[in-house]
């Protein structure tokens, strides 16, 4: 009995030691996450309750007043509505395109492997570099105008037009994020057993539309929701391309929430408290949409 108790003790010590090693190994990463994610998040929540101007050395508690003024500022509301509009357009188009590319390239043939690689290039280029390329693509002497000139269409300087600037940004982002979601769809397609497709073929599911309606769409709907959620989160946080290309202009045509937050912090007033409040409003907007999606998701998973 004595023997077993010492054995147990030793095992306990071993476990403790193992756990200690475990903590030691995750510590660096945890430290980074705490320092660069959790701490700033909590800190920014705290300052969202303050009037905080680091340049004027004015700091005083004002409660929810920042939230109130952000919500009542017409510009932020406009920016939020614009980014929602952007999200609806971009997410729906890129999801459909990603699905179509995935179906198109889901073969073991060499040609589809090569095309897959080509289609994927935009996804790995840095967003700043891509934005700079697209400034040229959409300029009045750029690629798009070169093509449309064949049809007798007058050149348009897309990014200088209040009508076209935002759609041009949408096109750019659809171009660069679609391949990434195509990869997620390709992974989803791999999970459909070959025999199910064969059974469908024998059952007479042979037109593209029927295959989509009865097999691909329902069997990939979990993948679709992942793609949509990631798409929404990405779109709501649109910033780099706008910052590089239009800086929110012309005439606030491409002014999105992150642009508002950036400008309020670093350009105009230096009112960090107000910006922090705006960030949290955006955060809750994204959280709300994501949670709504998740609720729906539970019932659509088939595996």
């Amino acid at each position: 009995m004595n023997n077993t108790s010492t054995k147990n003790k030793r095992r306990k010590i071993d476990l403790k030691l193992e756990a200690r090693y475990g903590y030691l190994l995750v510590a660096p990463l945890m430290a980074l996450i705490v320092i660069f994610t959790f701490f700033p998040a909590i800190y920014s929540f705290a300052i969202s309750l303050f009037h905080y101007n680091p340049f004027g050395h004015q700091v005083f508690f004002i409660g929810l007043a920042n939230y109130d003024s952000v919500l009542h500022s017409g510009l932020f509301a406009k920016a939020l509505l614009d980014v929602l509009y952007y999200t609806v357009v971009v997410v729906s188009i890129q999801t459909i395109l990603a699905f179509m590319f995935a179906i198109l390239f889901n073969h073991k043939m060499m040609i589809s492997r090569i095309s897959r690689a080509f289609v994927f290039i935009p996804a790995i280029v840095s967003s700043v570099a891509l934005s700079i390329i697209f400034i040229w693509v959409f300029s009045d002497q750029g690629l798009i105008n070169y093509f449309t000139s064949f049809f007798g269409i007058k050149p348009i300087n897309f990014f200088f037009s209040t009508t076209y600037a935002f759609p041009a940004i949408m096109a750019l982002n659809i171009f660069s994020t679609t391949p990434y979601f195509m990869i997620i769809y390709l992974a989803g397609l791999q999970t459909i057993p070959r025999s199910v497709l064969e059974a469908a073929s024998l059952d007479g599911v042979k037109t593209g539309w029927n295959r989509f309606r009865y097999i691909y769409a329902p069997m990939l709907n979990f993948t679709t929701f992942i793609v949509v959620i990631l798409g929404i989160i990405g779109s709501m946080q649109l910033f780099d391309q706008i910052y590089v290309i239009t800086d929110g202009g012309p005439s606030h045509a491409t002014y999105v929430p992150l642009m508002f937050i950036y400008n309020r912090t670093f350009i105009y007033f230096g009112d960090v408290g107000l910006s922090a409040a705006a960030s949290f409003i955006l955060f809750f907007a994204i959280l709300f949409i994501t949670l709504m999606q998740r609720r729906y998701l539970k019932e659509t998973r088939w595996t």
């Binding site: 199910v196 064969e198 059974a199 073929s201 007479g204 599911v205 042979k206 329902p218 088939w302």
Partner: protein
């Protein structure tokens, strides 16, 4: 004739899946295609279904050449390994999809779905999804989904492979019943010889894409034309050993072994036989007898209920012998220790002799010689 395959050839890159494969299946016949995995049997089935396009040869279903016809219009139905049910659809919709694709009116579909569901006994689970039903129920749904199409032939691709052993026996019974009810042809692909033997009217043995032999289960068991068939059918498998022509007597063959004296010898009427032969004996054809001609050394002994299975050493090779529990020797059979010598006799028509090309030779054996006789013969010279 329900199905006819003419000179089918199929290769995946440099791997030959089927070579000049012919097959006839009569109306209402249950044909099993039996062979090891990678033998080409699944490919044959997929070519009939139209899921794979053959390199050359014809698929004829009900007298019509079907080479370029879409799988859904070939009038065949397939039951898959692991069923391949549509996971996102209810059982009802799984069965109904085919009729829906054909544009049949709703009431008609409903009537037919309930009819087949009733036959296979799944009426109570029509509203469930595949993940909510048991393996056996999924099996029946697979059958119902095939049945609703009223096909010329049912193609079954190892449908029982995913099930546990006890349940497989039950499902075999159900498939036999299913065949009796539908009265349709079935082509059943399997690597399990017991499934083929117990259900099929005719078995086609396929190895490396080549048809080795076909015939009724009994015919294949009793008259295997090839070593492959002989060893593939029957459980435990047939024992085979290599024999070589004795240097002293062209009619006498002895075990090709490093041991000094062959444990038994075979004397043939014909003296022009090839120098090397393969000799096969089924485990249950050995008869335990104190003056038997075949001398072996016991390795281990297992009591399996109705039979006793022995692992014995014959020269260098190990073989398996099953004897009935009533068999007797001088010592009680259960008191035998490993390494104790035993004698068996095998009646001369129970030997299967195969030539160097593994094809069966039908040369009668005159006499089975015990090792003592062989020793005398070789020393006498």
């Amino acid at each position: 004739m329900a199905i006819e395959l003419k000179k089918l050839n199929m290769a995946y890159g440099s791997t030959v899946a089927l070579k000049d494969f012919d097959l006839h299946v009569d109306d209402g016949e249950f044909v099993a295609i039996l062979g090891p995995s990678g033998g080409g049997k699944s490919t044959a089935l997929r070519i009939i279904a139209g899921l794979v396009l053959q390199d050359s040869g014809d698929v004829i279903i009900n007298g019509e050449v079907m080479n370029n016809i879409h799988p859904s219009e070939r009038n065949v139905a397939m039951v898959f390994q692991n069923q391949a049910l549509y996971p996102h659809m209810t059982v009802y919709n799984n069965i109904a999809l085919n009729l829906r694709m054909k544009g049949i009116p709703k009431q008609e579909i409903d009537r037919k779905v309930r009819e087949v569901a009733n036959i296979v006994g799944i009426t109570s689970i029509l509203d469930r999804k595949p993940k909510e039903i048991s393996g056996g129920q999924a099996q029946r749904v697979g059958l119902a989904r095939a049945m609703i199409r009223d096909p010329v032939v049912y193609l079954m691709d190892e449908p029982l492979t995913g099930l546990d052993a006890k349940f497989r026996d039950e499902m075999r019974e159900e498939l036999i019943k299913f065949h009796r009810i539908t009265k349709k042809s079935i082509i059943y692909v399997t690597h399990d010889q017991i499934e083929a033997m117990s259900m099929a009217d005719r078995i086609v043995v396929l190895n490396n894409g080549i048809k080795i032999q076909e015939g009724s289960p009994r015919d294949l068991y009793d008259n295997p034309e090839h070593v492959f068939v002989a060893t593939f059918l029957g459980s435990p498998a047939m024992n085979t050993f290599r024999f070589r022509k004795s240097t002293e007597d062209p009619k006498l063959f002895i075990l090709d072994s490093t041991t000094e004296v062959s444990p038994f010898g075979l004397e043939f009427a014909d003296k022009t036989l090839p120098d090397e032969l393969t000799v096969g004996i089924r485990p249950n054809d050995f008869i335990l007898s104190d003056d038997g001609e075949i001398k072996v050394v016991l390795q281990s002994l297992e009591f399996l209920g109705s039979v006793i299975q022995m692992r014995v050493k014959l020269g260098d090779s190990e073989l398996i012998i099953t004897v009935s529990r009533e068999s007797r020797t001088k010592t009680d059979i259960y008191d035998l220790k490993p390494e104790s010598p035993l004698r068996f006799s095998v009646s001369s028509e129970r030997f299967y002799i195969f030539g160097p090309d593994d094809r069966r030779l039908k040369n009668p054996i005159i006499k089975v010689h015990p090792p003592e006789a062989i020793m005398k013969k070789t020393q006498g010279k």
